[in-house]
């Protein structure tokens, strides 16, 4: 795994807490249609920690995830990711930050026109300072790590659901993120495959010293978490150790 060893430039920077949220509130809509989806949320995720976020649908989990992922403008409260304040951060700033955050979606969201290898390389291409060949070798290495070394040149349409999700994991990790956000990564998978995928995710994140925040409904995978956080009606309930 020499290619995948953790790059020196990412080590050391604010290792205490990857995510630090204080008093975060968020609303959707305008005027009379305005509806609060997050109410004074406080949350911290330490470096290398695996946190699972559960709760009924519509309680604001995905909104929280997209705010931490710098996909949305923060309206009120403090969100610090890698010590960087997201409140008031501009488009360009958020885009740069997103390069350091890996994301895995409910649907796999792979590029249909690219092979598995090329999809993973789209993640590796975000890294600077590697040659084309170097990035391609990394993409292959990651596909090997998720057990897909025999499917390098297959298009997403020729892969099974579990395989696609594993490609998505490889793509997210190929960009060497320090934080991985996953939104119900097992939703489209059967229980056995789901379990496998999540364990793989956890193991690889561990090896990279990468924090993980995973939203899930799936009770069968709760035990992989270091910490379980429950959410209801836009509020976090106390953490369950």
């Amino acid at each position: 795994m020499t290619v995948l060893s953790y790059p020196a430039q990412y080590q050391g920077a604010d290792v205490v807490s990857t995510v630090k949220i204080e008093n975060l509130s968020h609303w959707y809509g305008r005027g009379s249609m305005r509806r609060q989806v997050l109410q004074s949320v406080d949350l911290q995720i330490a470096a290398g920690e695996v946190v699972l976020l559960t709760g009924p649908s519509g309680c604001g989990k995905t909104t929280l995830l997209s705010l931490i992922g710098a996909l949305r403008q923060v309206q009120q409260g403090d969100v610090r990711v890698f010590g960087q304040q997201l409140q008031g951060a501009g488009r360009g700033q958020r885009q740069l930050l997103r390069r350091r955050i890996g994301m895995i979606f409910q649907g796999h969201n792979l590029l249909r026109c690219l092979t598995a290898e090329q999809n993973v390389q789209m993640g590796a291409d975000l890294l600077e300072g590697f040659s084309y060949r170097g990035r391609r070798d990394q993409a292959r290495e990651w596909l090997r790590a998720v057990g897909l070394e025999d499917h390098l040149s297959k298009l997403p349409q020729d892969l099974s659901g579990g395989q696609k999700q594993r490609v998505a994991i490889a793509r997210a990790l190929a960009a060497r993120p320090q934080l991985l956000l996953a939104d119900e990564p097992t939703a489209a998978l059967d229980s056995g495959t789901g379990r496998e995928v999540v364990e793989l995710l956890k193991r690889l994140a561990r090896e990279q010293a990468c924090s993980v925040l995973m939203v899930t409904h799936d009770p069968r995978i709760l035990d992989v978490a270091d910490r379980l956080v429950k959410m209801e009606d836009g509020r976090l309930l106390q953490a369950i150790e």
């Binding site: 995905t62 995830l65 997209s66 992922g69 996909l71 949305r72 885009q95 740069l96 930050l97 997103r98 390069r99 350091r100 955050i101 994301m103 979606f105 409910q106 969201n109 590029l111 249909r112 026109c113 690219l114 090329q118 390389q121 789209m122 993640g123 291409d125 975000l126 040659s131 084309y132 990035r135 298009l155 793509r171 960009a175 939104d183």
Partner: protein, 390 residues
């Protein structure tokens, strides 16, 4: 940025997006090629017609040409006093002159007996007329009265003159009611104003047109000493000669003719409009293809933005798609254009050929077409909201 663009580092996303959707790609390329072919045809016809209008003009062995100020084009040449041409001999730069009679006459088809107007040039058989050196020996036969040299590239409506002549038959016909005999064949080519040409001696010419005022000619050819600046001589002649004659360089004479067809007829407008239609049709097709391509891939673009790709990088993908479409749509259009020009040349004898400047014009039109469409399709890309994909 440019280095990165050229070295092709990274996944060639634009080309993959196109290639992995072969049907859409085929539609796009067919549309662009069609637009390109349309532009090639229309512009080719336009330039061909303008070129064809000066087929004969180009052949004259002259550095300076004198015409009447009342002449407007090859189909309405007015006469001017022949002594003006003789006067040019006063300048030491002038080496020689050839007075030429020029008019459209009615030629009777020896087979069908129908008449059709043909461009007749009358000159002294001993004088140099055309640059082509093979004319002089043929012109000797014109010293006999009532003999003409017939242009074998004339349109077939004038009758099978060349075939009959080659078969050794005596080809006689009638011009303006007077009997003439074909004494030889020349190769000039039909032009815009004249479907056919014939040469004859001044003597025969005046016989055919007895009302021509004595001492009046339509065109005066002036040859200068080697290495003389024609422009300067034109200025001198303008100062020397009265206003009843217009002095032009040979190129000026060609421009004068082309300018007539360009400005005084609707030909230029019609064909340019035709090319513009091709351009618009191409724009619509490319825009449709690129727009639906971007729309279909919107979630994927949003995913890339969520991964941390810049909007600019993704816009670059659309631009590259446009560039690739332009390039690969142009190549078949170019090939088809060559083929169609060949067809036109053989069917109409119009001098239509692929020249570099037209090839570049059409390419830049296609490029503009694809880039403009890409630019419009990009506006759709701005709708890609990474926040929507979770």
């Amino acid at each position: 940025m440019i280095g990165r663009f050229l070295s092709g580092r990274g996944i060639p996303l634009a080309s993959l997006m196109l290639v992995r959707q072969p049907v859409r790609l085929a539609v796009a390329l067919a549309g662009i090629s069609f637009a390109g072919i349309l532009m090639f045809m229309q512009l080719g016809f336009r330039d061909g017609l303008f070129d064809a209008s000066v087929t004969v003009h180009r052949l004259f062995d002259a550095d300076i040409v004198l015409i009447s100020p009342r002449s407007t084009s090859s189909v309405s040449m007015a006469g001017f006093p022949r002594r003006r041409l003789v006067q040019t001999m006063a300048l030491p730069e002038v080496e020689g002159i050839t007075p030429v009679h020029w008019n459209l006459l009615l030629w009777r088809n020896p087979q069908t007996r129908g008449t059709r107007s043909i461009l007749a040039l009358g000159f002294e058989p001993g004088d140099p007329l055309f640059v082509d050196p093979t004319l002089a020996p043929k012109a000797q036969v014109l010293t006999q009265k009532g003999r003409v040299l017939f242009d074998e590239k004339s349109r077939p409506e004038f009758g099978p003159v060349a075939e009959w002549f080659r078969d050794g038959r005596i080809v006689e016909s009638e011009i303006s009611g007077k009997r003439v005999r074909v004494a030889g064949l020349i190769e000039l080519g039909s032009s815009f104003g004249a479907d056919g040409n014939l040469l004859t001696s001044s003597e025969t010419f005046l016989e055919l047109l007895p009302n021509t005022p004595p001492g009046s000619i339509e065109v005066g050819l002036v040859r200068l000493q080697q290495g003389t600046d024609a422009e300067a001589v034109v200025e001198k002649l303008n100062a020397l000669l009265p206003e009843d004659v217009t002095v032009l360089t040979k190129q000026g004479f060609i421009d004068f003719e082309q300018n007539y067809w360009r400005t005084s007829t609707s030909i230029g407008f019609i064909f340019t409009l035709g090319a513009a239609m091709g351009f618009v049709v191409g724009c619509v097709i490319v825009y449709q293809v690129l727009y639906s391509d971007v729309s279909d891939h919107l979630p994927e673009y949003a995913t890339l933005m969520a991964m941390g790709y810049k909007l600019r990088t993704l816009l670059g993908v659309v631009v590259r798609e446009g560039l690739l479409l332009a390039l690969f749509g142009y190549l078949p259009a170019y090939a088809a254009g060559q083929g169609l020009y060949l067809l036109v040349r053989s069917a109409t004898a119009l001098p239509v050929a692929m020249d570099f400047s037209r090839a570049m014009t059409v390419f830049s039109m296609i490029l503009v077409m694809c880039m403009a469409s890409a630019g419009l399709a990009m506006r759709r890309l701005v709708d890609a909201d990474p926040a929507e994909i979770f």
